[in-house]
Point group: C2
Chain length 333, copies 2
């Protein structure tokens, strides 16, 4: 039982895309072989900035679930669970809220940035302000040791460990476990338009459900080197989305290296590179698209699967809550 | 089933005293005959400003419970329940936090006053800031229509009704019920020293467990009219704690009226008034003290009783949560 525990997850605010595939899904498929992995569909956290639009969250739960399965996350190896159906997470959040000051969460750089990005100003919901605490509840409820995050999320891990330290100091024996950030070694996938980030709001995504036609159009429209006008001209690799994607997705690294050299020297056209990339993306996405469509045909079974994972997660999180309550002397009925 | 529902309760931060008896316990004993009454031992709310001292909250749960029973609250007529053992309250709080802005809770006059009183400044816990939301979750989870409060708590009721309105507007059919404040018609009981409020921190209380000796000393030391030096002098009724208490506790209102007239005219000594009051307080407290001691002898049975009430409350609050979740489209497993 020395398998380390991982908690990761997504807010169900839209279907997942290739950015998620590169940034997290691929790793999860590998990590489920070596780790005790929990993947949380964070619907409550999704509501923190969609409080007035709950339909969006509701509708995207099966979408995200189908994406997980399509990408190869195996519910027999990974516990996929639903945040709102784990009352222990809400209860731990309430307990932690008493040992974290408003000043401390306001100082959290991740929260500061996100508040600025989302333009909340004076209309900041209390739930959004409190979300680092809620996230600490998620991580600690599962006693996760590793949390895969981007480097912009490091302050959240720091805040979680502060809560762990403070809460453990109130208990006769420590119950909560400190966690470590597991930084992804792949850099962020740019949008097909060359934007720094693939993002639904920028309309520059490729979903796991993308059709053959959509993939073809996306690759055709993909940003390359705007100064590479003739095939014989030398081309730029830096900022050229086609090569970034070839790096991220092409199985044959040597071939990509040779193509890069050729492109930089001149004599390799954008169309040829795009054909190579398109073939590789069609091959990657086709089986995911098919599996995804199959899962989406039976949403009842999808939700039943989520229920089974959630029940397993309830056992783990209720036990942590019980230990914290007993330690604090809160009666457990 | 047209019996109106009432929610009321106390933070278990210390045993209850005559101030509570006059301000709430007496009403509850009457209301349980005509209302569907829930009394919540708000241990989670107690932790909002005792996050680092959970023992205090834990130890006072049976104390408050014994006070309730001693005062005549009947667990067969009133559902006495424990806040921390009702996960629906934490879950509803999490949902409501997304539809209330930080600016709105900061503007709540009750919260503003309490923050100032408690001297939190920059060390304000998030849980304390969020407590109007948590209180709205308590009230609405029970679908309480009446909430007995002091007039300083009216802004809390207003905030609760705002949340009810906003949340109902997100649901296909309204689930939550608007509530009304039930203002107590008795004014606040002063401390035995003449302070405006009987309060543990001022050391001017008389507990329901007070011994005969303690009652005697308290009445002897009680603040009267400092200028009433000779029995034959006319005395002041206004601000004279002995008469305030006679008004609050003496069963024979005519007798008290006659005493007041006599005292104001001159010729009635403080000692005679205090003897009258002491007899009446001894008679009031003695049976409560005995019942209280009996209950405290079996804390196991006390907690079992609380568990039974809490289980009943779980049924009610889980059902409200379920209705809200279904309305929002959050999956219910």
């Amino acid at each position: 039982m020395n398998t380390p525990t991982i908690l990761t997850g997504d807010r169900p605010t839209g279907p997942l895309h290739l950015g998620h595939f590169v940034g997290s899904l691929r790793q999860r498929v590998a990590l489920q072989q070596t780790h005790n992995q929990f993947v949380l569909i964070a619907d409550l956290q999704g509501l923190t900035d969609n409080g007035s639009n709950p339909q969006k969250i509701r509708d995207n739960i099966p979408e995200v679930l189908a994406d997980y399965l399509a990408a190869g996350i195996d519910p027999n190896l990974t516990t996929i669970c639903l945040q709102s159906a784990l009352p222990a997470l809400a209860e731990l959040t309430m307990l932690y809220m008493n040992i974290v000051t408003v000043a401390r969460v306001e100082r959290n750089p991740t929260v500061k940035n996100e508040i600025a990005q989302k333009g909340f100003a004076r209309s900041l919901p209390v739930g959004f302000m409190a979300y680092p605490i809620s996230q600490a509840a998620d991580i600690t409820a599962f006693k996760a040791e590793c949390v895969p995050v981007g480097d912009d999320q490091l302050p959240m891990i720091e805040q979680t460990n502060e809560i762990v330290h403070k809460m453990n100091s109130l208990l006769p024996v420590p119950v909560l476990r400190h966690c470590k950030a597991m930084l992804s070694d792949t850099s962020r996938l740019p949008g097909i338009d060359g934007s720094a980030k693939m993002s639904k709001s920028l309309g520059n995504t490729l979903h796991l459900s993308a059709s053959e036609e959509t993939i073809h159009c996306a690759v055709s429209a993909m940003y390359t080197d705007p100064n590479h006008l003739k095939v014989s001209d030398p081309g730029e690799i830096e900022g050229n989305v086609v090569f970034t994607y070839l790096d991220a997705f092409h199985p044959d690294k040597d071939k990509v290296a040779a193509m890069k050299a050729h492109y930089q020297a001149g004599g390799l056209g954008d169309r040829a590179c795009k054909n190579e990339l398109e073939a590789c993306l069609q091959e990657l996405i086709a089986p995911m698209r098919e599996r995804r469509a199959m899962y989406m045909r039976d949403k009842g079974e999808l939700m039943a699967m989520l229920k089974r994972g959630t029940e397993r997660a309830q056992g783990v999180t209720q036990e942590t809550l019980r230990e914290v309550k007993v330690g604090l002397g809160v009666p457990v009925f």
